[in-house]
Symmetry: C2
Subunit: 514 residues, 2 copies
């Protein structure tokens, strides 16, 4: 392990995960590394969960507040949720066990813009950070840290925590060294200066994380891979969504609003995002750039093919195959990928300046273009807003994508009124489903509504939605954004009561996207 922990003083602080976890006490606020299942601590949270379970069995509940970069993995969120060891969680999660506890009302969850976490922490809104648990790939002779497969909020956690526990994971390739760009120029107002980044590939910081060695109370050696992010071949609906989006790009280029190099891409993760990236790789584009949060398999492939010149992100989210490809060709990728703190990857100033093309999934949109990214039926949180608001609000193009139906047709992705708003009608520019694409820019509310109904709605739901809109235009209190308030959320209520948003039973529907 001495090759990874080159500082003798740190090497001497090596201890077991169980010993390190013993430094975490009930009620503490613990900030951990981790972003989309990469670079999270793998040993201490599990050892902590074991202690929590033992404490709970002894009738002595042991719960903490957990802050991270974004989502983690079963070894962290899953393990702590299973033993009911979290009283508060932020700023993003995607773990099934944790989600269930949140929606049972057992855990408070603050679902917030990823770009806001650092400044809110500095302001003390989450209280004092007692301990940070940070995975790194190594420790230099001088005590600086080689970041792991995600950066997330690690710079902030290391600065703000009273004590630091390091997990040095030798499974993370040594070749990660040099891929990171940690910017130490941020400040709180009134001391903020322009951030000197003009192109996605600008290096503005340094490759290592700084830490006050006096804070480091434990070093734990680990040797375990990041969570695999399963990658499945795009399904037909995703491919059709990607097709509509590529046609849209073609037209933007034709209209002179984009060049063939497009603008820096931001892409969420998942099946649709993969389909879009795959379509881009087959459409003759080259020398594109990405300024995004996450490098997923599809993006790696775009880099390999030269479609993508480089990608700036804060984290990886790779499948086993993707990880192998990356590790086998690290020297190639190291010059084409930059990992930055999420404060910088998601910074409003930079997203506006670069003019990112923000492409994110959604749960549902309504006829006026309001988008729900977070809540099922207005009350049950799915994952969280993540960075979608950072990119949609300040980017050049805000694109939201979803199949037009879900759950065998029982849920429509387009509804009269969304049950929760994460992106307002003022911020949404393009809505895409496998049915088609609605470009909302420059349109007034009723124009947007008719376009979304015509282009994006599934045929099973289109007559219902047209009927709602037609009656609303006649009967609404105001005719600027016509709505029938006693019906606006009735589709969701019907879903809660009957399992389907549709009047007809699910069996009578066409059963999915077409």
């Amino acid at each position: 392990m001495q090759d990874r922990i080159r500082n003798a003083d740190m090497f001497n602080r090596l201890m077991s995960a169980e010993q390190a976890a013993g430094l975490i006490k009930p009620g503490m606020t613990v900030a951990m590394s981790g972003f989309t299942g990469a670079g999270y601590p793998k040993a201490v949270p599990q050892a902590l969960a074991a202690r929590m379970e033992a404490a709970a069995s002894a009738g002595d509940p042991f719960r903490i507040k957990v802050l991270t970069g974004a989502s983690t993995a079963p070894e962290l969120d899953g393990a702590l949720a299973k033993v009911n060891g979290m009283e508060l969680r932020l700023p993003y999660q995607s773990d099934p066990a944790l989600r269930e506890r949140i929606n049972n009302g057992e855990i408070d969850y603050i679902d917030m813009h990823l770009s806001h976490v650092a400044q809110h922490t500095w302001s003390g809104f989450f209280g004092n950070i007692d301990v940070a648990v940070i995975e790194v790939a190594g420790v230099l002779e001088d005590g600086r840290l080689i970041p792991s497969s995600s950066v997330g909020n690690n710079k902030t956690w290391l600065e703000q925590a009273d004590k630091v526990i390091l997990e040095v994971n030798r499974f993370q390739p040594a070749g990660l060294e040099g891929m990171h760009d940690i910017y130490y120029g941020t400040a709180l107002p009134p001391d903020r200066k322009p951030i000197p980044l003009i192109r996605p590939d600008d290096r503005i910081g340094e490759p290592y994380l700084r830490v006050d060695p006096a804070k480091i109370v434990a070093v734990v050696a680990t040797d375990a891979p990041d969570r695999n992010s399963p990658f499945s071949a795009p399904d037909e609906a995703s491919q059709r969504i990607a097709g509509h989006l590529l046609d849209f790009f073609t037209n933007e280029i034709k209209q002179g609003r984009l060049t063939k190099k497009l603008l820096p891409l931001q892409s969420g993760v998942g099946n649709i995002a993969n389909a879009v990236l795959a379509a881009l790789s087959e459409s003759g584009y080259e020398d594109l750039t990405a300024y995004t949060e996450v490098i997923q398999d599809g993006m790696l492939e775009l880099i390999r093919k030269g479609v993508l010149k480089m990608a700036s992100a804060t984290s990886f989210s790779l499948s086993a195959a993707g990880m192998k490809e990356f590790n086998n060709n690290l020297d190639f990728y190291r010059t084409r990928i930059l990992l930055r703190p999420q404060e910088i990857s998601n910074h409003p100033e930079l997203i506006r300046r670069l003019g990112c093309i923000a492409m994110n999934g959604m749960i549902e949109a309504d006829i006026y273009g309001n988008v729900n990214s977070t809540h099922i039926a207005g009350s049950k949180v799915m994952n969280g807003i993540g960075g979608s608001g950072d990119f949609a609000r300040n980017g050049w193009l805000s694109i939201f994508m979803s199949p037009s139906t879900a759950k065998a047709g029982s849920i429509s992705g387009i509804v009269p009124m969304v049950s929760h708003v994460d992106h307002t009608e003022h911020d949404t520019m393009v809505i895409v489903t496998e049915q088609g694409l609605a470009d909302l820019r420059g349109l007034a509310p009723k124009q947007r509504a008719q376009l979304i109904i015509d282009r994006c709605t599934h045929p099973d739901y289109r007559p219902m939605l047209q009927d709602y809109f037609d009656r609303a235009k006649r009967e609404s209190y105001g005719k600027h954004t016509p709505h029938l308030l006693n019906e606006a959320l009735s589709w969701h209520q019907r879903f809660i009561e009957t399992g389907s948003m549709h009047h007809y039973p699910v069996g009578a529907l066409s059963g999915g996207t077409r």
Copy 2:
């Protein structure tokens, strides 16, 4: 008029407003100056309205698309709305006649972030700009323009319009010359650079507007004041809101999150904003700054008293008395006020960097902190989002203020679910009513809800809201953001049907704020 039109070539293009209006044809897209009732053209729109009325009488409807900076005045929006001469209007309005036509469904209105207008225009989403009608205070020998009492989108209109009609208004004080800072460094991506503004008083541009002289098809001489923005002494509710806000600032300073110089203030207009400014002027603050959209009477007074060192804005909105004070002391104010294009006053990059304290009114908030700034009962637009989203989304503090009830208690400012979302739960930090202040930062949804119910709700509505929340916590589909979807909008529906959101008749309510 030669003192104001110092360029001989321009002087020779002088013509009557009727002649100039004759250059505007049905169906044209016309971009006009004007922001919060300042610096709008005063003669051509009225002459145009007369032509439209004549045309309509002859059975030949004459309508145009109208783009401005923000709201204008009876001579523009009022006159054109009266003759039904607009088919489309953007990006903001506050005229009663226009509002009525919009809510009757007769005019399409695009209610958009003021910071988005310039880049959307450059991208062509509003089509070709046929004519710009711009009020200026004068024309220099070399043809550059002395801007008027607002800048708004004038730089963009002058650049993008095919033809330009100038109104040279000699009523605007000659001393305005030198107060403006027109930045010519913006670009479309990928050519954007950091905007070199670090303090609200940084000058980054030039004092004059540039225009291609070949575009100027008419110059019209006018001599008329801007619309008076009535200023009334703050009522009791506004004073109590201001009191809560000042206590909040005091505590922020105590907590070390703000210094005694606060951070650059952004303030909406109206009674509550005036009360807040008045309270600031009596609380021992000095050397504050403002980075905002509008200079209203209260801000002028803060500057006069030295409480405010300087203010950066894009427009004035003064009462007759305020205008007199300003004109009589122009040399004093000229060194303490900068007027910039709204692209810069509302720029996300600058608002985030400066860390603006965004203080805006609202129509209603819901228990989770979602804010409705635009729609009555979800369908009837009031004014528009204006710059509130620009400042709330990227500022340091986003504060929304409203009396806890309206219309003699028949409307609650706090509702179970807002009927329209302009600012999401992710963006709202502080809610204030005369009842109290809720600081939502660092709180999960259910914590926010209880705080808003306890602190901000009127006693007449508090039991109803608590009852909703309690039942929602028990019966909601998900318990993360508990809602009862068949009741969530019932308060608004009851208001539509009965004239009151309350179960009890209005006469039985306490009749307003207390």
